[in-house]
């Protein structure tokens, strides 16, 4: 699965894109965030306040209870500030 990170999430994680195999017990966005947080200090810092994290599953905005098992691409980012 492709995972993407933008803005300060990207800076804290330390990469903008990576491909990972998710464990079988990661079913939804919230579970994925918990699992990523345990990978290292950078992920832990990026996801320390999950309520600040916005998510897109296959390039559509999604909530933290969205399923991830069928997804090809999941992106994590702060609230958007364009315009």
């Amino acid at each position: 699965m492709t995972l993407l990170y933008f803005a300060w999430v990207r800076e804290k994680v330390g990469t903008g894109s990576e491909t990972l195999e998710l464990p079988d017990d990661v079913k939804d966005v919230a579970g994925l965030i918990r699992w990523l947080s345990g990978r290292d200090e950078g992920y832990a810092a990026a996801f320390a306040q999950p309520e600040l994290i916005r998510v897109a599953v296959d390039q559509e905005h999604a909530s933290h209870d969205a399923a991830v098992t069928e997804a090809r691409e999941i992106a994590f980012f702060p609230p958007v500030t364009g315009g």
């Binding site: 933008f6 803005a7 897109a56 390039q59 992106a75 702060p78 958007v80 364009g82 315009g83």
Partner: protein, 154 residues
């Protein structure tokens, strides 16, 4: 459908001209241009960099445009957003709406901007005297977008 993301600047007049062509059925053209502000003083911003999510950005902008077209009788519209490094005074975003009816053109342009601010995956990082900082989303933008949820298009 006309949505674009580009690093290059845009020419407001040229974009409007391209949309209207030699049409004689339009009546009303509204443009909104957002520019980089520098408030000076302790809030002095030397520049900002716009990061975005290639692929999703275009999808999100196209979805916005499609939504606007379903709500108002638009003859055409454009949503154009820049990315990369921009200095104070530079153009960031352009929305143009063409309609037979001025209120439709105004409302659709305001809607596109409000929705873009809360849905299009762009992030601004400012360069200031104290270093760089990510711009925080504003509750007022959420409120502005929310007012269209129960808005009855006229």
């Amino acid at each position: 459908m006309a949505v674009r993301v580009q690093e290059e600047n845009f020419d407001i007049g040229a974009e409007i001209s391209a949309l209207r062509g030699d049409r004689t059925d339009i009546g009303a053209i509204v443009s909104f241009t957002g520019t980089v502000r520098d408030l000076g003083g302790t809030d002095h911003v030397a520049a900002m960099t716009l990061e975005h999510y290639p692929g999703m950005t275009e999808r999100a902008l196209a979805a916005l445009e499609s939504d606007a077209r379903s709500r108002w009788p638009l003859d055409d519209c454009l949503v154009l957003h820049r990315c990369g490094r921009l200095e104070p005074g530079e153009n960031i975003v352009l929305v143009v709406t063409l309609s037979a009816h001025r209120q439709a053109a105004f409302d659709a342009a305001a809607f596109l901007m409000d929705d873009l601010k809360t849905r299009a995956p762009f992030w601004k990082k400012e360069e200031t005297a104290d270093g760089t900082r990510w711009v925080e989303a504003r509750a007022s933008d959420d409120a502005a977008a929310a007012r269209w949820s129960d808005h009855q298009a006229k």
